[in-house]
Symmetry: C7
Subunit: 85 residues, 7 copies
C-alpha cells in the first residue's frame, strides 16, 4: 500500500505510483485538496476522486470528482508517505 | 446521469464525461461559475451554457452561454459527483 | 439573432457564432468591456467594435474599435444569451 | 483617415490598419501610452513613435520612439475610432 | 559525499549530482522544503523524499515523498555545500 | 546619431537601430535602467553597458554590464528620441 | 579579469564571458544573490558557486552551490564591471 521511493526515476513516476491512492494537493492560493488520484498528464492537470477541500485540517467542502489545472499546483504528496517514510 | 470514476484514464476524460452536465468552475480570482459544460479544448478553454456566476452560494449574475479562458481556471467539478460519490 | 448552444462542439465555435453580435468581455483586472465581436484568433486576442468600457453597469469610456490581448481575458459572453437562455 | 471595421477578419488586421495612425495603449500596471503605431509582431510587441505616457488624460512623459513588450498590453485602440465609430 | 563544482557544465548537472542527497528548495510563496532529491525533469519538476516543510529553521510539516512543480521553485541548493564550499 | 522612425518595419528593428546607443528600460517592478544597448534576442533579453539603475531621475546604483531578462521588461526607449522626436 | 563589452553580440555572450567570475543576481521577489557563475542555459537557469544571499549589502545566508530557476531572475551583472566600466 506504500509508495516506494527507489522506483522513482522521473518526477511523473511518483504520480504514476500514486494512482488509486490518496494524495494531498497544495494549490498556489492556499487551497488544499485531499482525494484519490485518478489521472494526470504532462501539464500536471490531475483528476481527484472523493475530493475534499481542506482548511486548517478540517474538511471545508466535498467536491467528488474534480479536474485540477496543473498550473495552480505547488505540490502533490501521497498521504501514505507523509508520516512514516 | 452520474459520472463514473473508473472510466477516467486521462484528466480530459473527466471533462469529456461531463459534457451536457452541470459543472462548478472555480476561477483564480475567487469567481465561481455553475453551468452546463458544452465544450472544452486542450487549453481547458470551456463553454458553459446557462452560466450563473455564484457568490457565497447565491446566484450573482446570469450569463447564458459563456466562453471561459482556461488559464484562469483552478478546478472544474461535475455537480452530480459533489455529494454522493 | 440568438446564439445556439447545440451547434457548439469546440470553445471557439461560440466565438465564431458570436461574430457581429454584442459580447461582454471580462478582463482579469476587473475591467469589463461591451462591444460587437469583429475578430478573434486562437490566442483569444479579439477585436471589438463600438467598444464601451463598463464600470458597475455604467459606460465609463467609449473606445470604438479595440484590440484586446487574449491573456487578460477571463470570459466572453454574448449579450443576447445572458437573460433568456 | 478612419479605420474600417468591415475589413477586419483577424485581430491583427486592426493593428495593420492602424499603422501610421495614433493609438492608445493600455498596459497591465495602469500605464497608458498614446503614440503613432509604427510596427507590431505576433507577440503584440509594438513600436510607437512620438510616444506620450499619459496619466488621467495628462501627458506625464515624452518618450519618442518606444518598444513596448506585448505581454504587458491589455488593449490597443486607434484614437480616430474612439469617439465617432 | 560532497557535490563538486568543477564537474558542472550545465545547470541540470548540479541537480543530477545532487540525486540521493539532501537539498533545500525555496518556493516563490516563501515556502521552504528540505528533502532527499529523488528525481527531476527539464521543467524542474522534482520529487523529494523524506520531505520536511520548514518555517524559520523549524520543521512545520512532514510530507514524505512529494512532487513539486517546477514553476513555483526559486532555487535548489544541496545542503552539503551550504557551509563549507 | 538619431534613430529614424521610417526604417522600422518590425518591432525588433528599433532595438537593432538602438545598438550602441543609450536606452531607457522600464521593468515591471518599477525599476528603471539607463545604459548603452549592446545586444538583444527574440525573447527581448538584453545586455546593457554602463548600466545605471535610476530612481526618480537619480542614479541609484552603477551596474556596468548587465544582462536583463526579457520577461520583466515593459518598454525600451532610445534616449535620443525622447525629447525632440 | 574584466569582461569586455565589445565581444558581446547576443545577450548570452555576457553570461558566457562571466563564467568563473562573480556575478550579482537580482530576483523578482527582492532577493539578491552573489556567487561565482558556473553554468547557465537558454532558460537562464543558472548555477552559482559560493552563493551568498544578500540583504542591504550584508550576507544573509551562505548557500554554497545553488541552482536558480531562470524565470525568477530580473538581471545578472558581473561584479567586476559594476564600478569601473
Amino acid at each position: 500500500m506504500c509508495v516506494m521511493a527507489n522506483g522513482i526515476e522521473r518526477p511523473l513516476d511518483l504520480l504514476n505510483a500514486s494512482k488509486g491512492k490518496e494524495v494531498m494537493v497544495q494549490l498556489k492560493n492556499d487551497r488544499q485538496f485531499v482525494g484519490v488520484l485518478r489521472a494526470f498528464d504532462i501539464h500536471i492537470n490531475i483528476v481527484l476522486d472523493n475530493t475534499k477541500e481542506m482548511h486548517n485540517g478540517e474538511v471545508r467542502k466535498n467536491l467528488g470528482l474534480t479536474f485540477l489545472r496543473g498550473d495552480t499546483i505547488i505540490f502533490i504528496s501521497p498521504s501514505s508517505t507523509s508520516l512514516n517514510e
